[in-house]
Amino acid sequence: MGQNFLTTTLGKLVGWGRGNSVWPAQFGLACCAIEMIATATAGVDIARFGSEAFRASPRQSDLMIVSGRVSQKMAPILRTIYDQMPEPKWVISMGACASTGGVFNNYALLQGVDKIVPVDVYIPGCPPRPEDLLNALMILQERIKAQGIMPRQ
């Protein structure tokens, strides 16, 4: 699709719309989930970025924040939840355990959630501060706005 009027301005509009209303799926696993909840409360308010509505069901959410360590027993379930989310969808891997297995390099953990789902933004930290999660969300919003209507590469 060439860069004509339709894809640029409309793309900006759609990108602006999608970027500012990213609804995360409630995927709290371990310690990072407590910091994710702390991000949603009044102290560090995620509602300022339009992501306050933590949807319980994957059908209504377009961002999956994998917050916590993914065990081998949980991996197929995480993949199922990711599959059941409608496009366009993004993934933030929150914390060292989700990104690389973190402190636990052993048989029980999936060493990095990008082995089963494509990840957009990684957040270091164990657990990362709530402000780190907001920073990751802002990075993701820039990417969504830049993406516009184009399918994700």
């Binding site: 409309l10 759609v14 069901s57 994957p58 059908r59 379930i77 995480l78 199922t80 939840i81 599959d83 059941q84 409608p86 496009e87 366009p88 209507i149 399918p151």
Partner: protein, 118 residues
């Protein structure tokens, strides 16, 4: 005579236009890849193998019917409430008769035990 209805017409047009635009735009612009795993029923992450439809006990149906009866009854209050001034005593008596009949029905249901859950 029809002029007084024009505002409603405009209102309906705006609503239909807005809703239509939203639905078609999101249908056109949103990517949609449907595949088996996505359409599988969501049951907290587990693909369920037990059937989801089971025969439910009759209590639920009974409660639903009771709700509908008394809800529809409530709908009749609105026009009556709006025109209460004009209808004067006649409207009041008429509505009391209407309510009386339904109160008798409610008492019957209560006595027969249709309201308690067990």
């Amino acid at each position: 005579m029809l002029e007084s209805y024009v505002p409603i017409l405009i209102f309906v047009l705006i609503v239909l236009g807005l809703v239509g635009a939203l639905v078609t735009l999101s249908f056109v612009l949103g990517p949609s890849k449907l595949y088996k795993r996505k359409l599988a029923p969501y049951e907290s992450g587990i693909i369920p193998d037990t059937p989801a439809f089971r025969r439910l006990s009759v209590r639920f149906y009974l409660t639903a019917m009771l709700f509908i009866i008394f809800d529809v009854e409530a709908v009749f209050f609105y026009p009556w409430a709006v025109l209460l001034r004009q209808l004067k005593w006649f409207g009041l008596i008429e509505m009391l008769v209407f309510i009386g009949i339904l109160v008798i029905a409610l008492a019957h249901i209560w006595r027969k035990g249709g309201l308690d859950w067990e």
